[in-house]
């Protein structure tokens, strides 16, 4: 399975969306470079306090340069160890909860006439409840503004959710265009 996202420069944002959208590396690597390093430093910080505390309780005298070297090595080991451990513990893989979307076949739009003069255009009212005043106002306004076109107002069969193939065939046969209104 390929979890590598599209190639973009990392944006510096740390949200899951920005990770999905922006990272150019596998997402596991992305996290190794960011959040887990922060965790490692936190771990080291705690470790150093612990070592100092042990030294204090044992009343040991610090051997300056040698001690610093030893401490550095210990810290380095801690960085490497904690980085791997923290990332393994913190991350999990989960399954995609979404279903399968169907493919979409593109439908070419119907050719447009150059003009509607001398032609018939259907205004189809899908009869959403109590919208007739709007439909009638539209019909009247179109007749007034474009008088060379015949504007035919027709109610669709049955309810607004029902199909009306008979009317569609009639429009295809006689009409140069259609306006279909759905209310609310």
């Amino acid at each position: 399975m390929d979890y590598t996202m599209k190639h973009h420069e990392a944006s510096g944002k740390s949200s899951p969306e920005s990770i999905q959208a922006n990272v150019s590396m596998p997402i596991t690597s992305y996290y190794k470079h960011h959040s887990d390093i922060r965790k490692s430093f936190y771990f080291i910080f705690k470790k150093r306090i612990f070592i100092n505390f042990i030294s204090y309780t044992r009343k040991e005298k610090p051997m300056k340069s040698k001690s610093v070297c030893i401490l550095f090595v210990i810290l380095l080991a801690a960085i490497i160890a904690s980085s791997g451990l923290a990332s393994d513990e913190a991350k999990i893989v989960v399954m995609n909860p979404r279903g399968i979307q169907p493919e979409i076949r593109k439908i070419p739009m119907a050719a447009r006439p150059e003009t509607l003069d001398g032609k018939m255009v259907y205004i189809v009212d899908t009869k959403y409840p109590n919208t007739k005043p709007f439909v009638e106002a539209l019909h009247a306004a179109l007749k007034s503004k474009y008088p060379k076109t015949t504007w035919v107002l027709r109610d669709k069969f049955a309810g607004y959710m029902d199909d009306d193939p008979k009317l569609w065939n009639e429009i295809k046969e006689k009409g140069a265009g259609a306006i279909v209104l759905l209310g609310h």
Binding site: P16, V93, Q101, E103, K106, A110, F134, Y146, I171
Partner: protein
């Protein structure tokens, strides 16, 4: 249709129609928007709307319509082919549990409440509860008829079952619900609700609650199975994105759990059949039955009247969007009282209710404009009913007629035609003579045993 067309939609649904136009394969559809709403607006205001601009584009409405019908097509408008969809990886990118939880919430994969993250291990455990293969198709589901259907397998249902914190033993029940292909979040402005009733031996096997609080949040199986249906509807059925694949204006809190409960078969009066037996299944089978509606009333009422008359009175005046169907959820002691009052079966009681309920006048006349016209013209019996005033009950039952048998609208896969549109289910703990009722109609049933 093959003819130059401009659809007109109110501006409130821009997001919806843009999405649907894309999914129907016409991404550049020339839509003209009107102000919202146009329903119930006076004629003067409608003329103003028409003379004004498309509120989305800012262009004059009439000119935009004319241009939409005549402007030449671009090369892209005339082109066929396929539109690109997002890929669907089986696994999501790894992350911390907290980040993944946030990711699921942000992408609308949840119901807003915490979920169990669906690791492969947990999904594998869930899959052990069915003999069906993980890659077997279970069904398809869509938010409402204009929307596309999404498809899903047994494994995909299992992922959602884990998310709902369902136990593996509940999985066959969840698969049976999913197999019906009915979304629990039907996308309509009217905020639909759904209900699922479980019958048969599985109820006791998985410890569903048929007693005190059967409809409430007190039982793990009742709660998680019902919740899972909503997760399935969102993630496998593509529902639940406000404005795009969910339009319920106010929403419906019943969608959190979809009234998931089992029938109390031990509490049925003698002679009253369990729901699944009424629907043609054997009593020994385990079955889910799905209902669709909007609302439910919890009736806590003492009356000197016999309880069947109280229920009749409630049913006569009950009003919501769905006014021609009803489901009664009776406590076992209410069912026993009804039975002892002379109703030896659920069917006889439903028949009594359907035959003896009228319709409040205001509701009858507003739903039957033709009858109102005839009443005003003096045609009987309408004129006589109308003379009694709009507040008087009209002696026409809303529950006698057959339910609308449009499988697309209700997403039903059955062709069930009940003799009344009243269903009766019994559940509850018998702590009082109370009951519930709502406008739910029966959609269909599915065998659970087939998914074991």
């Amino acid at each position: 249709m093959g003819v130059s067309t401009v659809p007109m939609i109110t501006q409130r649904f821009e997001e919806l129609v843009t999405t649907i136009a894309f999914k129907k394969g016409i991404p550049n559809m020339r839509i003209t928007y009107t102000p919202h709403p146009i329903t119930d607006r006076p004629a003067d205001l409608c003329r103003e709307f028409v003379a004004g601009n498309n509120p989305i584009s800012g262009r004059p409405m009439l000119e935009e319509i004319y241009a939409g019908l005549t402007r030449p097509l671009s090369a892209a408008d005339s082109k066929g082919g396929f539109l690109k969809r997002d890929p669907r990886p089986r696994l999501l990118p790894s992350d911390t549990a907290d980040n993944l939880m946030e990711y699921f919430h942000k992408h609308g994969y949840t119901d807003g409440n915490p979920i169990i993250l669906p690791t492969e291990e947990k999904v594998q455990e869930m899959l052990k509860a069915t003999s069906h293969e993980p890659d077997e198709w279970v069904g398809q589901m869509r938010p409402s008829p204009p929307h596309e259907a999404w498809y899903y397998t047994v494994e995909m249902v299992a992922v959602n079952a884990v998310m709902a914190d369902a136990k593996p033993e509940y999985f066959p029940v969840i698969l049976a619900i999913a197999s019906k292909g009915v979304t629990s979040m039907f996308s309509s402005t009217s905020s639909f609700a759904r209900m699922v009733v479980v019958n048969g031996p599985v109820v006791k096997e998985i410890g569903m609650n048929t007693g005190i609080g059967a409809l409430g949040p007190v039982n793990h199986a009742n709660s998680t199975i019902g919740r899972c249906w909503t997760l399935i509807s969102k993630n496998l059925g593509g529902s639940g994105k406000p404005g795009e694949t969910y339009l319920g204006s106010q929403g419906n809190s019943l969608n959190y759990n979809n009234l998931c409960f089992p029938e109390n078969e031990d509490g049925l009066p003698a002679g009253w059949k369990p729901l699944h037996v009424q629907k043609g299944f054997d009593k020994s089978e385990s079955v889910v039955s799905i209902f669709s509606g909007w609302s439910i009333n919890d009736i806590a009422w003492y009356s000197p009247l016999p309880i069947h008359e109280v229920i009749r009175g409630w049913l006569e005046h009950f009003f919501s969007f769905g006014t021609t169907q009803a489901t009664l959820i009776l406590d076992p002691i209410v069912a026993a009282d009804v039975a002892s009052n002379g109703y030896p079966t659920k069917e006889t009681f439903a028949r009594y209710l359907a035959d003896n309920t009228g319709t409040p006048g205001w509701l009858y006349w507003s739903h039957n404009p033709n009858a109102l016209e005839q009443a005003k013209a003096g045609v009987e019996p309408y004129a006589g009913w109308f003379k009694k005033g709009k507040g008087a009950v009209v002696p026409v039952s809303r529950y006698k007629g057959r339910r609308r048998n449009n499988s697309n609208f209700m997403a039903s896969q059955d062709n069930n035609e009940p003799t009344t549109s009243i269903e009766i289910v019994v559940t509850g703990g018998g702590t009082n003579t109370f009951w519930s009722g709502g406008d739910f109609g029966y959609v269909g049933s599915a065998s659970i045993d087939q998914w074991r």
